[in-house]
Amino acid sequence: MNGFTSIYKKLIIVSAILGLLLVCSFVLGISIGSSGGAGEALKILLGKGEPESMLSVIIWKIRFPRVILAATVGAVLSLGGLVFQSLLRNPLAEPYILGISGGSAVGAICGMLCGLPLFPWVTSIAFCGSMLTLALVLGLTAGRAGLRKDSLLLGGVMMNAFCGAIIMFLISLSQSSQVHHILFWLMGDLSMTEAGTLPLLITVIPCFIIIFILARPMNLLLTGTENAASLGVNVRLISMVLLVVTSLMVSLVVCLSGLIGFVGLTIPHIFRLILGPDHRLLVPACILGGSSYLIICDLLARSLPVEGEMPVGIITAMVGAPLFVFLLWRVKR
């Protein structure tokens, strides 16, 4: 009869298609660059090139970690957007817009200016910063009638502006030679790879698994908290876990790649349009699709400029900001 298809079937189809997409963008991301032809790079990837050549070193030491970082960042930001949108039942929620990325950035800059090591200090301070902004934004906007949609966004926008001011304030005060680097990083930059892609992956993958397990409760939360509770969901516990886990992975990503906005808006909305509202499909789709998306965006960011490269945050904002306006327009109607 109509209506029911096993979730396994859909999951396998979605993962297969998006997995293939990820592999393609991965190969593209590695083989295209300023030095060496794409054909030669492909040979090296398949293990047929000269192992000690210049191109081989570039590929394995520079491009490979960078593409992995881009993929992880893309997956985390997309998933973060998805979680916040369903948890706050607001289609415009996203770590960047809610000010959570900004809060982590303030924490991360404090750590960096003090010259602390990235792991665990800078990341821990960034995590505290993100939790603090989250608590502030939610606390400010939580009225008796629950969370109001518009005030949540306003709170986030104000938080972002405030965090931006603090960041600039800190940068202006410091005499550090890092200033140029930090400014670049602020706009979203994936070139800082040597520091810690591996610790990032190790922390982020368990977060992915937890969120995937909570996909069904997230579906139910979308139908209202009392509705979810009457179907056996421990709303308070699950919301807490989701908020903390998401803030954790977002703040880690901010430490490594700076403020890359709008990814968490673009990717979840595209997949919602294609796949519908079921989070058991949306979570893996956002992980796989988000990583492909950022690999491609990063590829554009480093190949479009004639000389050097531009921060990848510029590309994602150019795609995402118009989408935000469109969604806002649709919500208001």
């Binding site: 029911f4 096993s6 979308l222 179907l231």
Partner: protein, 274 residues
């Protein structure tokens, strides 16, 4: 053992009291209807029974155990709720909505098996919404939407179903359809039904016992004929309500008296006391 027992429940919202020393018990398989004027505390009482109010958890017992002793999941396995309102932007299809009723019976990953599909299909057939299975919930009519949520509650296979004004905003045909559905379901499965209703005649026709509540206090609890009397209703609702016998069923029938008819009281046509 009663299905639901409330012992001396007092609730307040800030300083404003909502429920004052409410005690009641609902037997297994009973159709129990809560009536009362707006703001009387009906919904608060139903939510307390559903376990949505933490401060009520020790005062409410389900099958002899206080709610505090149940986990959210255990509670969902024995008690379902048909909500009064759903979010305006409800994105799920009818079939998926009904299938959500299986949640408390699924494992950790929440993957439905063939058995769950079967239960959902039967529930949709029972409430006659199976032909809508693929439609989005916000694309069906109000009466159909209520039947979808009743199908979800049935799909949950719980022994108690709580309903918050399920017939509001429905035309008479749909009101009857939903009430008959619930009544039939109760007869077949022995499910306990607790319902809030503003429609006194529906309450009289279907309820085994009624609870009349006002200002958070129990005014009267008992069989429809004992609760729905002219004196009781007129004093509780603060307007003239006439009661006679329903011509089709041996239950009370309530008639509202509009202002313009009260004036003809002088002619001695209408018997009114206040």
């Amino acid at each position: 053992m009663s299905a639901v027992t409330v012992r001396n429940l007092t609730l307040a919202y800030g300083k404003k009291p909502i429920l004052r020393e409410v005690s009641l018990s609902v037997e297994k398989g009973e159709f129990f209807v809560i009536i009362g004027p707006n703001g009387a505390g009906k919904t608060s009482l139903l939510k307390a029974i559903a376990g949505f109010n933490k401060s009520a958890d020790t005062r409410v017992e389900i099958f002899g155990r206080p709610i505090a002793a149940y986990s959210r999941l255990q509670l969902a396995q024995i008690m379902a709720m048909v909500p009064q309102q759903i979010p305006a932007d409800f994105p799920f299809a009818v079939a998926d909505t009904v299938l959500m009723g299986r949640t408390p019976h699924l494992g950790l990953l929440g993957v439905e098996q063939e058995h769950d599909f079967m239960v959902a299909r039967q529930a949709m057939e029972f409430t006659e919404v199976i032909h809508l299975a693929d439609r989005r919930l916000d694309q069906v009519s109000g009466g159909e939407r209520q039947r979808v949520f009743i199908a979800r509650a049935i799909c949950q296979q719980s022994r108690i179903i709580l309903l918050d004004e399920p017939t509001t905003a429905l035309d008479p045909a749909h009101q009857l359809k939903i009430m008959d559905l619930m009544e039939r379901f109760r007869k077949e499965r022995g499910t306990t039904l607790i319902m809030i209703s503003h429609d006194l005649n529906l309450a009289a026709m279907y309820g085994d016992r009624l609870l009349l509540i006002k200002d958070g206090m129990i005014e009267k609890i008992g069989a429809p004929a004992d609760v729905l009397t002219h004196e009781q209703l007129t004093s509780s609702y603060g307007c003239t309500l006439l009661v006679d016998e329903n011509p089709v069923i041996a239950r009370p029938r309530v008639t509202m008296v509009p202002e313009k008819c009260k004036r003809s009281q002088a002619d001695g046509k209408i018997i009114d006391t206040m």
